[in-house]
Symmetry: C2
Subunit: 324 residues, 2 copies
């Protein structure tokens, strides 16, 4: 497994990423003091900044105007962080990346409003790129993410459906990766074919990223992932490893129990998690993630050669080899 | 007092407003079914649509392109409704305009996400006006509103300050009125002076609107307003009538109690509410609201004559004569 410290895909955009950080940290400058503190806390919580990185590399590879690219990358990360603030509140999560969440320290009211403020700042940043199609894309992506969360919230639990799963991980993760690469290409002096290829690259990267997350939910150790092993399934949420397992063992009593609506029986679900861990369901899921990555790498072949393209290749490889 | 049914300022924009309604009601078309139901509920809850009305009249008076104006008016109302959804959740309000709030019927999670979805749709509508400065204005206004709510949330209670009050009612109400008129002028074929005058018109209208709301909080009957009389003060929130009363009676023991931090003593605060109702503080506040309206009417004098200008004059008069 590769850790984030040993990866080199940051090199071509190190300075640019520093500029993005500066833009992010100035977003609450005119805000209420507690809001400023909250934003600092959120931005210092050790996010991997993978979405702005993928956007910066794409834009730099395709000759995007520098300032526009910085603003765009900041907008993407701000939108991502805003959605996490409301997510953690809704899930009642007290930790994220080992740090206390905002809702662990603040009232629900303050947490809701901080998320709203960050949406406003993300929209402002998107507007500052002075590119109307990008604004529309930004608003559409936010609607997709939120609609996905609502669907998940109201969805009946224990449903084993690839279609549902694919829609869910698109809304949750791939939509924003897709937006990052597509937007970066949109502001670059390139034709529609390149924009479409980079949109697809982002999409496939994002799909793989979420599948790996869902695999790590089963294979990771609680200390590393920061959640109980199989936490999704314990809430009745069926991810790809569980789908593969259920397809291979349709008559497993715990699988039947899951689809029968008894996901609340903790003991059975914990046993099912162990069954999935002991099966080839996770390696088959990883195979599916690798297929997305292979397709993403293929799309890069038509892109301008150079260190950015190489970094985007490394980043794709990192996605399926990370341990967290 | 004038009721909404007897006013004529709707006449010049009746058709346009119907188009705005249609745009609003189609915003959840691709959304999750419960979300569609929630949006229908929110949009049918009898809102006065005063913000889109003021935007439509301004744009029609100044020759704004019709489609752009409809989209813009819908964006303003959607943004307004979105902020109400989170507001009601934060305040734990169970009724608005006599109808159950979303949070009265739904979980906090669903309510948060519905608000988020509406922000996304408002941003999308703003982007569809194809006017970049308007997008920035939209994002700035959202940031102003949310920052104001956060300031109110963290503000120490019982503080008697005109400066705080003016900032608060600007963020809460005037900013969105200002945005509606300014944006409508921005998309019209007029020069900067007209845009600035109409921005000010919206600002003054909004300030007066909120002052009247705050007066009605004291003078209205619980059944009409839908909240206990003096509800702001009972939460330690000092509005204009309380400021006038405190200025005139600095040694009233209940005023001293309020500033001393004892706003939680229900009985004393209820007595203070009665004292304010019995004083000339509400009529002095109304005088201040009327001054804003007079300034707003002055600004209209330089605008093109016609039924829209007349309607904007009537609307200004309605603001200070309404009973709800």
């Amino acid at each position: 497994m590769i850790s984030l410290n040993t990866v080199s895909f940051f090199v071509p955009i190190q300075t640019a990423l520093q500029e993005v950080e500066t833009v992010l940290h100035t977003q609450a400058e005119n805000g209420q003091p507690d809001l400023r503190a909250a934003l600092e806390h959120l931005l210092s919580s050790g996010g991997k900044r993978i979405r702005p990185v993928v956007g910066l590399l794409t834009g730099q590879m395709l000759g995007a105007p520098h300032d526009k690219l910085i603003t765009l990358a900041a907008a993407v990360e701000m939108l991502h962080t805003a959605t996490l603030v409301h997510d953690d509140l809704i899930d009642g999560a007290l930790l994220r990346r080992g740090m206390p969440t905002l809702n662990a320290r603040w009232s629900p009211a303050a947490t809701i409003l901080t998320g709203d403020y960050m949406f406003a700042r993300a929209a402002k940043l998107a507007a500052e790129t002075d590119t109307l199609p990008l604004m529309k894309l930004f608003a559409e992506t936010l609607a997709t993410i939120v609609n996905g969360e609502l669907t998940q919230l109201f969805a009946s639990r224990g449903v084993i459906s690839r279609e549902n799963y694919n829609k869910r991980i698109y809304a949750k993760t791939a939509s924003l990766f897709e937006m990052a690469t597509r937007a970066a290409a949109m502001v670059s002096p390139v034709d529609e074919t390149i924009v479409e290829s980079m949109r697809q690259y982002g999409y496939k990267l994002g799909m793989a990223f979420q599948i790996v997350d869902d695999i790590l939910d089963f294979t990771g150790e609680q200390e590393t992932v920061g959640k109980p092993v199989g936490s999704d399934l314990l809430q009745g949420l069926v991810t790809l490893p569980a789908i593969y397992y259920a397809e291979a063992h349709p008559n497993d009593p715990d699988v039947l129990c899951l689809t029968g609506g008894c996901y609340t029986e903790q003991e059975r679900m914990e046993r099912l998690v162990q069954s999935i861990r002991g099966s080839n369901a996770t390696s088959r899921s990883m195979h599916e993630a690798r297929a997305f990555i292979d397709q993403a790498l293929d799309l890069l072949k038509t892109m301008p050669e150079g260190e950015e393209r190489q970094a985007l290749e490394e980043l794709a490889a990192y996605i399926v080899n990370r341990s967290i």
